[in-house]
Amino acid sequence: MKTIQIIFTLLAFAFFSNAVFSQLSSGRIEYDRTIYWTKIMDELPYLSKEELARNKLTWGKDDKYTTQYSLIYNQNASQYIESEIQKEKSDQWSWRKEQLNYYLDLEKKTRSDLVEMPDKIYYVESPEPSFKWKILSEIKEVSGYVCMSAETIDTVRKHKIVAWFTPEIPVSSGPEWYSGLPGMILELDIQNGSCVITATNIIKDPVNQTPTVPARKKKYKIIDLAKLHELQTSYINQCILSRRNPYWNMRY
């Protein structure tokens, strides 16, 4: 019993000292983004309860798919991209990669994102969106950091977003397009666990890795965030009317 107490004390010490002395203002965070397809189907209004139960029964046991993303950040900016190494990638079959490059300039408070829509790739330039974050009273640990929770609404997809952020990394950014909290977001829970993005590894001060603005190419159509949201809303509405799942072709 005594040994356990000693271990606890040591652990606690290591943990607290870490919190006090290190300020992680630059680095790279690796995220696992897991999507649960049968949970997503729950939000399709045209499916009957019986069809939903059938989906759960057939696919529910094995419906998750995980992709890896990296967030490269410093005090001035952050960049969110798909990771080089994909754990679940088929060994022998290469699928097309989604074009994704989300850049947040923390000084100018602007975003420059490469966003893939079902028809084409857009270059979205906009001021940093102001999320209406509601601070919750839960805390938990993510990848060694104690996080507080905050909640907001994705107004386009009508999803409840719960973010777990750590004041220990005093950079107001996070995965996907979320930011604006007093610390780095290490976990996102979208729509009660339909999609969970969680930090798996936090690398401090990596050499030669600084966030870079995605290159503008002629083939990308430049729009602002309002226009993107308009396109997305209209696409979701039409898909639902046509009894199709919008998220087969659009990022959840």
Partner: protein
């Protein structure tokens, strides 16, 4: 009036200005964050929230000494939330005081979280903690307990919780006297009965409350401390679900249907029961029922045992095999005739993180009564004859099937899949009737009466195992598989026929009577094994090497007895036995390029067949042959751009001759159509080429695809027929020049009005050249088929939908023997399905199908319009019930007609079939029934 308007505007304006003044953004809040011993907590976070909904306004970080200042705040009340790792976040409500620009909160002391609790909850269980004031709650499900544990076992693991030997629960030294489940009392509220009986797996949250005593509530003061109580929240419905339905219907013409299923499932098991019976041939089992019955085992990965050029590692297997009596109950086609079907089964699956076990039992029964009248015209190079047959067939099938599947993941690198399948089946068959042959001038040449009956019993068992291994070196993998399968069949037949042959002018020539019984015993044994290895070459290339081995042993013993004056005499000419061994080796390798959405593979294999046969029957014969073939393979797949896909494939396959075609057996069960075997057959080689491109635009809801194919065969198995002057046909399979075919398929779909009106168009072209041999003449058939499809989906609103379709196909066939036989056939199909919501919640749907068939050469045309319609209403609490009135084949035009025109044969078969009937049915569905109009013409979600 105008004055009032001005007044109001002025008032509103002044109000806004006043508000603006009151909220001028220059209020400051400052303070100093420390722990209880006044040591500064440097870099603590301070958040400013709106007090109503806790939304974040702004945030700052304290300096090294724990000091912070928040500037430029509006003069309104806020909630400050101060947080520091390892401490309870502190909430402070602040209100501006008129005239004071700076609010100094002074020293703010933070309370430390008990280190043990913090470590156990946060670090070990990774459970979120909820902080309400000075108390902490946490999610119980994050604390792992072994399967079958009770809530009591779970509570023992929770920090700060004590469970004594007699089950008394206490926390912070205080006994918990009240336990509720989902807020309700459990068995009179005795905490022990709940915690000792409820399974831990069913619990999602353990909540601890402090309940104010009645005394405190009334007086505001209490002599006793507040009571602790516990609430257990049960897991949500879907994780622990059940669903099912029962449909019963009865109607005119003595028709009835009954179908039901029930499913229960949770995170570690699935149980389902299904049953169906009908004499309508309709409303049997389908896709949905298959998924409901098999659940997570509907589709399985990694079951493939034959490794080859394909992806090898990750693909899904699903078999529509007719031999599988269970799958044919779900997916078997509709039979013409009058059917009686019944089936039922039980499926149970159990799984944990590493192991999955599935077992199934399925029983099926079907009986079919079919009276058929067939007219067939035969055009031979030197003669013409016509068949007029009138036959009745009664078949009864019964089958039992048991399946077992087990999958075990030893770790992330090693997987084993075992499949076992056992089947027993019994088939009774009775076929009797009259056959009439006549020549060109209508003169009858032959009259036959026959009555054949038989029984077949078979048992079939097979087992397979696949072991796959991945290596640390990404992309390297191996697999090994083995299959063992055994089939035993006993067949007993009684054949009776009387054949009257006539010479010209209907003069009776001869009578040939057959009265035989025969008994056949078949035994097949199959052993297969495959190995495969994939080796990465750099990051983009892989090499894949495989070896397949297969050994099939087929044994058959057939005894034929002639019935002569009550005596059975063995017919040595027709009795026979044989045993064959077919052994195949295939070894091959391929190189694959796989990068950025492009996959290219090129490979070559060598295939060796060894055929060994022993034949006894009248003559003794043995065969010992070996064939060797090269099998090349190429495939290209690319989807470089989103929603665009391009593929091209070339594949070759070798087919060994069938055993019954290889041995010189004379099958005279139909004395006018005798089949003989051909021991000289060699494998048929099929070459296939395929090219396709598809593109879709999900924003515009358009899609386009094109497919081109070509195929040709070498040494094709072709039927050779010889017809003698008595019009007795002798047929055998020979190797002959191959079939050639090419064609294309094009489709385009687009919305005319988005989400309301969608049009899909498709066109297909097929050109083929094939050969048949009749009386030593080569008959080359060359045919071109053009076909088109138009589909219109109309979904204007929630109350009506219609799906219309038109399909037209025109084929032009030319024969080399005689151009007068050339023919053009046009088939047309029009269908419409309409769903509509009527009044009082009543829904209606109608399906109309119209088939039209025109053959110019025979001046033949036929039209079959079928209309089915039903009205139904969903009712009851949560829409659990449905009642439905349906009428099938309203026009009473169902003919059960099958028309065939190919080669030198044109035939029409009419089978007695079920015509117009009405049906009243009731449905009960546990999950409720949708009372929306069906707006989908497809099944993917």
């Amino acid at each position: 009036m105008r004055v009032y308007n001005y007044l109001i505007i002025t008032m509103v304006l002044s109000f806004w200005v006043g508000l603006g003044n009151a909220q001028s953004s220059n209020w400051q809040i400052k303070g100093n964050v420390t722990d209880t011993s006044s040591s500064p907590l440097s870099l603590a976070s301070v958040m400013v929230l709106h007090p109503e909904d806790s939304t974040l306004v702004t945030f700052v970080q304290a300096d090294q000494k724990g000091n912070f200042t928040i500037k430029n705040l509006k003069s309104i009340p806020y909630l400050l939330k101060i947080s520091y790792v390892g401490f309870l976040p502190k909430n402070i409500a602040v209100t501006p005081v008129l005239g004071e620009a700076i609010l100094d909160l002074g020293q703010i002391k933070m309370l430390e979280i008990s280190k043990e609790l913090f470590e156990v909850v946060i670090k070990t269980a990774k459970a979120p903690m909820t902080i309400r004031g000075d108390t902490i709650e946490y999610d119980a499900t994050k604390f792992k307990v072994p399967q079958g544990s009770t809530v009591e076992d779970l509570l023992r693991r929770l920090p700060g919780m004590e469970v004594s030997a007699d089950g008394t629960i206490s926390t912070e030294g205080q006994e918990i006297r009240k336990v509720t489940v989902d807020g309700r009392k459990f068995f009179g509220g005795d905490p022990k009965s709940a915690t000792k009986n409820l399974p831990a797996e069913g619990i999602s949250k353990v909540q601890l409350f402090t309940e104010e005593t009645e005394e405190k509530k009334l007086t505001g003061a209490s002599s006793t401390p507040p009571e602790k109580m516990m609430n257990l929240t049960l897991k949500d419905e879907f994780k622990n679900g059940s669903f099912g339905k029962l449909i019963a219907g009865g109607g005119t013409s003595e028709r009835a249907e009954l179908k039901g299923n029930f499913n229960k499932f949770n995170e570690s098991m699935q149980l389902s029961i299904i049953g169906s019976g009908n004499n309508t041939g309709r409303n049997g089992l389908g896709w949905d029922d298959y998924q409901d019955f098999r659940g997570s085992q509907s589709f399985n990965w990694n079951d493939e045992t034959d490794f080859g050029f394909g992806g090898g590692n990750d693909f899904m297997s699903f078999s529509f095999d007719d031999e599988n009596s269970m799958n044919s109950s779900f997916f078997g086609g509709r039979q013409t005739g009058l059917p009686i079907n019944g089936s039922g089964g039980l499926n149970y699956s159990w799984f944990n993180d590493k192991t999955e076990i599935n077992s199934v039992y399925f029983y099926n029964y079907n009986k079919l009564f079919a009276e058929a009248i067939r007219t067939q015209e035969n055009y031979l190079p030197d003669q013409y004859f016509k068949n007029n047959d009138s036959t009745t067939r009664v078949t009864k099938n019964m089958g039992h099937q048991a399946l077992f599947r087990g999958e075990h993941k030893f770790d992330s690198m090693h997987t084993l899949v075992v499949n076992l399948n056992g089947q027993l089946s019994n088939r009774l068959n009775n076929h009797f009737g009259n056959l009439q042959y006549s020549r060109a001038n209508g003169i009858i040449s032959n009259l036959t009466q026959f009555d054949n009956s038989g029984e077949t019993n078979s048992s079939n068992g097979n087992g397979s195992a696949v072991f796959r291994k991945k290596y640390k070196n990404k992309g390297r993998s191996s697999g090994i598989s083995t299959v063992l399968s055994r089939f035993d069949g006993q067949q007993y037949n009684e054949i009776e026929s009387e054949n009257n042959f006539f010479i010209i002018a209907s003069v009776f020539d001869s009578l040939y009577t057959i009265r035989q019984t025969n008994e056949t015993n078949n035994q097949n044994l199959l052993i297969k094994s495959s190995i495969m290895h994939v080796e990465p070459i750099g990051k983009k290339f892989f090499s894949q090497t495989f070896y397949n081995f297969s050994r099939r042993i087929e044994q058959s013993d057939r005894d034929v007895f002639d019935q002569q004056d009550q005596n059975e005499i063995r017919n040595d000419f027709l009795s026979r036995d044989y045993s064959n061994i077919i052994q195949t080796h295939r070894v091959g390798t391929s190189l694959r390029y796989s990068h950025q959405g492009t996959n290219v593979s090129i490979g070559l294999a060598r295939q060796i067949f060894n055929l060994n046969g022993e034949f006894n029957g009248g003559v003794t014969n043995s065969i010992d042959r070996q064939f060797q073939n090269w099998i090349p393979n190429f495939s290209f797949n690319s989807s470089v751009r989103k929603n665009q896909h391009l593929h091209a494939n070339y594949s070759v396959s070798a087919r060994e001759p069938k055993i019954q075609d290889l041995q010189p057996i004379i099958d005279n069960s139909n004395p006018l159509y005798i089949r003989i075997g051909n021991p000289d057959l060699i494998p048929q080689i099929d070459h296939r080429l395929n090219f396709g491109f598809r593109k879709s635009n999900p924003i515009n809801f358009t899609n386009f695809s094109i497919n081109l194919y070509g195929n040709f065969s070498e040494n094709q198995f072709v039927l050779e027929q010889n017809v003698d002057s008595n019009l007795v046909t002798t047929a055998r399979i020979i190797n002959y020049k191959g079939l050639k075919g090419t064609g294309s398929w094009l489709s385009y779909g687009f919305p005319i009005i988005k989400t309301k009106l969608t049009l899909n168009l498709s066109y297909n072209l097929n050109i083929s050249e094939s050969f048949a041999l009749v009386n030593s003449f080569e008959n080359e058939t060359f045919s071109i088929t053009n076909g088109g499809n138009v589909n219109l989906n109309i979904t204007p609103n929630e109350t009506i939908s219609a799906f219309l379709s038109a399909r037209i196909s025109y084929s032009d066939t030319k024969y080399s023997i005689e151009s007068s036989q050339n023919q053009q056939i046009m088939t047309q199909n029009y269908s419409a399905s309409i769903n509509v919501k009527l009044f009082w919640g009543i829904l209606a749907s109608a399906n109309f199908n119209y088939d039209r068939f025109i053959n110019d050469r025979f001046d033949f045309s036929q039209e079959v319009p079928i209309l089915n319609a039903s009205v139904y209403k969903v009712f009851g609490k949560n829409n659990h019930f449905e009642t439905r009135i349906s009428v099938y084949d309203i026009f009473n035009r169902n003919l059960g007609v099958n028309l065939v025109a190919n080669g030198n044969i044109v035939s029409e078969t009419r089978t007695s079939t079920l015509r117009r009937y009405g049906l009243l049915s009731f449905t009960y569905n546990i999950r409720g029934i949708s009372n929306k109009v069906n707006q989908r013409n497809n099944y993917y979600h």
